[in-house]
């Protein structure tokens, strides 16, 4: 709750006409951004708690904690518990995200906030073009790689090792629900995307 309350307070501050329209002083705008960043990072704990309470069929019977709250953990039977860190990437809009840029294997969990099933094309910034995407049904998704456009002005402003964007169709994301995909780097020697010749 303290994290969510902090986020609520920050969003409360963001209702100010200056915050909505950007007519505040530069330093104030930077401070708004800083507060929002802290609030979003704080709420990552909530995301982790919620998404780690996935229960699977073989879940160990839910234990009742001393507070009486039914605590359910991500369990795969008696042997191991996994608690994932679910990183949100606030720079995805400029094709930058630490986990896919550095990890050889990572899980992408997509949450659909709409009250109906949607299928969305997902773009993941990656340093290479040899990746495989699988869903939980062992289905390998069709993928396509596109170069991150790196125009002149971008070079100074985007600190990212991602040179490509991995595109795949995340289909049938359940309403107000989520779906995860397991993405692995492969040793394949997939062709890098080549621009078509253009008539000038």
């Amino acid at each position: 709750d303290p994290h969510l309350s902090f986020m609520r307070e920050m969003m409360g501050v963001m209702q100010h006409h200056d915050a909505v329209t950007g007519t505040e002083k530069q330093a104030v705008a930077a401070d708004y951004a800083r507060h929002l960043e802290v609030a979003i990072r704080a709420c990552a704990t909530n995301t982790k708690e919620v998404l780690n309470q996935l229960t699977v069929d073989t879940a160990v019977p839910a234990s009742v904690t001393e507070s009486g709250a039914r605590e359910r953990r991500w369990t795969t039977g008696p042997k191991k518990e996994y608690a994932f860190k679910f990183e949100t990437c606030t720079l995805l809009n400029i094709s930058s995200c630490a986990v896919p840029e550095q990890a050889d294997k990572f899980i992408l969990t997509l949450y659909n906030p709409l009250a109906r099933t949607v299928s969305e094309f997902v773009r993941v910034p990656v340093p290479d073009v040899n990746y495989e995407v699988k869903d939980f049904d062992d289905v390998t998704m069709e993928t396509q790689f596109l170069p991150v456009p790196t125009p002149v002005q971008d070079l100074n402003f985007r600190k990212s090792s991602a040179l490509y964007e991995l595109v795949f169709l995340a289909n049938s994301l359940p309403p107000l629900g989520y779906k995860s995909f397991y993405i692995t780097k492969t040793n394949g020697n997939r062709m890098k995307p080549v621009a078509d010749p253009v008539n000038e």
Partner: protein, 288 residues
């Protein structure tokens, strides 16, 4: 043909040999639609009386109604594949854009990247993405009200009083929270935004949205600071996306172009959240 074409069975975009978008085919019709980046020079006032204010954080006041062109021949690169086709346009060293059409989607995505806006000529600039079409919309266009009701606008006109516009351009700019559109008896063009922007239709068949601003004078409305955001010592680089939906204006067809706009708007403004987890010590089968 010498045109470069990307698209799918619902929407197809054609680019001419100069690198500009020239026509869009959708709903069985091909309309002339071109897109360009232009800019207004910001007015510099002495801020003494109300009418002589500089363009700034609180007001949009171009020095003149004429826009300046940004590029006469953007460089193109085209990438094709099963899931998405993309045209990468480089207009100049501070404006570029990726136009993409995903498989089986009814819209085209224009991801623009603008900045740092050069001001070494001492002039503030307000950058606009402008879509010009042959849709005979007259002076009528539609802007949304906070993502819901579409309000009918008429250029150089106000419904409730006889307006005399002293600032012709600024007087025709409206707040666009999510959508601006125009239509005639056959075709309709709508542009969805990924954030609130200023927008207008400064000519028949034309829609424009302001994507970035860099001004050098305070507008004396109180913030006492020019709207001149910088990062790493240079002007800020802004990146965002416009979604173009073109189709028949016939309201009896199904789905109507309006409906396609609404569904696209909902998906783009309440997008899927992505969460990444490093899986270094968990094998796929365990994960399953």
């Amino acid at each position: 043909s010498s045109f470069t074409s990307i698209g799918n069975e619902y929407i197809r975009l054609n680019f001419d040999t100069n690198g500009f978008l020239v026509t869009v085919t959708a709903d069985g019709m091909t309309r002339i639609i071109n897109q360009e980046f232009v800019y207004y020079e910001g007015a510099i006032g002495n801020n003494r009386e109300f009418r002589n204010r500089s363009s700034g954080a609180y007001i949009f006041r171009p020095a003149r109604d004429q826009v300046r062109s940004i590029s006469l021949q953007p460089k193109l690169k085209v990438y094709r594949g099963n899931l998405v086709e993309e045209v990468h346009q480089q207009f100049n060293e501070w404006v570029s854009q990726v136009v993409r059409v995903y498989r089986q989607q009814h819209y085209a995505e224009f991801e623009w990247l603008v900045g740092p806006i050069p001001v070494d000529d001492g002039k503030g600039k307000e950058i606009v993405s402008r879509f010009n079409s042959d849709i005979n919309s007259g002076g009528i266009f539609y802007t949304d009200s906070n993502g819901r009701e579409m309000l009918k606008r008429r250029r150089d006109h106000r419904d409730t009083w006889k307006v005399k516009l002293l600032e012709h351009t600024a007087g025709n700019y409206y707040p666009i929270t999510t959508k601006i559109a125009l239509e005639d008896e056959n075709a309709r063009m709508a542009i969805l935004t990924d954030r609130a922007q200023g927008g207008s239709s400064m000519g028949a068949g034309s829609l424009e949205l302001m994507v970035h601003r860099r001004l050098l004078h305070d507008d004396a409305f109180g913030v006492d600071e020019a709207l001149n955001e910088t990062a790493y010592g240079e002007g800020l680089v802004a990146r965002g996306t416009h979604y173009l939906v073109v189709g028949s204006s016939n309201k009896r067809q199904s789905p109507t172009t309006h409906a396609i706009e609404r569904f696209t708007q909902l998906r783009k403004l309440l997008p899927v959240w992505s969460f990444f987890s490093d899986a270094k010590n968990i094998a796929y089968d365990d994960w399953r």
